[in-house]
Symmetry: C2
Amino acid sequence: MPGGSSRFAVAIHVLTLLARAGGDAPVKSDRVAASVNTNPVVIRRILCALAAAELVTSQSGAAGGSRLARRPERITLRDVYRAIEGGDAFRLHRRRPDRRCVVGANIEGVLGGVLDETNAAVERALARTTIADIVTRLQPCAPPARASARAATRAKG
Amino acid sequence: MPGGSSRFAVAIHVLTLLARAGGDAPVKSDRVAASVNTNPVVIRRILCALAAAELVTSQSGAAGGSRLARRPERITLRDVYRAIEGGDAFRLHRRRPDRRCVVGANIEGVLGGVLDETNAAVERALARTTIADIVTRLQPCAPPARASARAATRAKG
DNA sequence: CGTATTTGTAACTATAATAGTTACGAATGC
DNA sequence: GCATTCGTAACTATTATAGTTACAAATACG
């Protein structure tokens, strides 16, 4: 499945930035884009998906931007995965197999079951990590904005 | 990660066909391609990866074709996954994040750890199903060649 | 109010991965 | 030797993802 997207990784990056901003001021897509090293529209598209899943809220206008809709402890990577990928990591055949063949006629159904189970395992694994965990693991020495305004300013981006 | 490949699904399809052939006669890539509904070269490329992982053996020439290198009970979907995808379902950023930002500088490392764990969960889940299981689930009423030559002939393809 | 700013989204291009195709040398059974 | 089949290279086609430009709608603030 490589060849897949980097959206999941980017979405986690985005949420981590918002978590570190502490929810006091909304973060602009331009600022996020700079950290991720991509175009602001790409970021806004991802923020849009995250907003649909009620993980963030966004606001247009002069003092606009995005912030977390919940505390980072309450956002798991499973939530992000579902918001971004719709919960499907594996793909079936591109073209329909030959239905006159017993294997071709039934393999999609059988595989569907197996891949559903696999996906459930993925989700269980992802559910064990939260955005707060990611923030913590980032760098023990560089605390987020809330904890130390000076350190956060030095390390911002 | 959708947008990924269908090779994993096709590889399982291929191995299932070989398992049902029972290992008596080698199966030709043309015959497999017909069941999968694709080009024989696509199948041969996948067979090549499966041969490198020692899951099948192939033979050139007049009476050539491919057959399983082990009994289907001893080939797990994890083996197939590793042979085909190299064991990486998730992808990181496309372009390098901004290293001047604490998040950008460290997110790849942190995510790498999380995704490794996730991948391990995928593999554990896939290890629980074998090609023999797939064959069994295909259709209780249409047994493979070994069990009933007549039924297999009728249902072949 | 009017202006500056920022989101949301459409429309397009670019890049890259995957699949499909043609072709042919090498291997092999008959 | 000859027909057949694999392995593989080289190419095209298709699709997904990312990147870009542009602009209407929302909103803060003077």
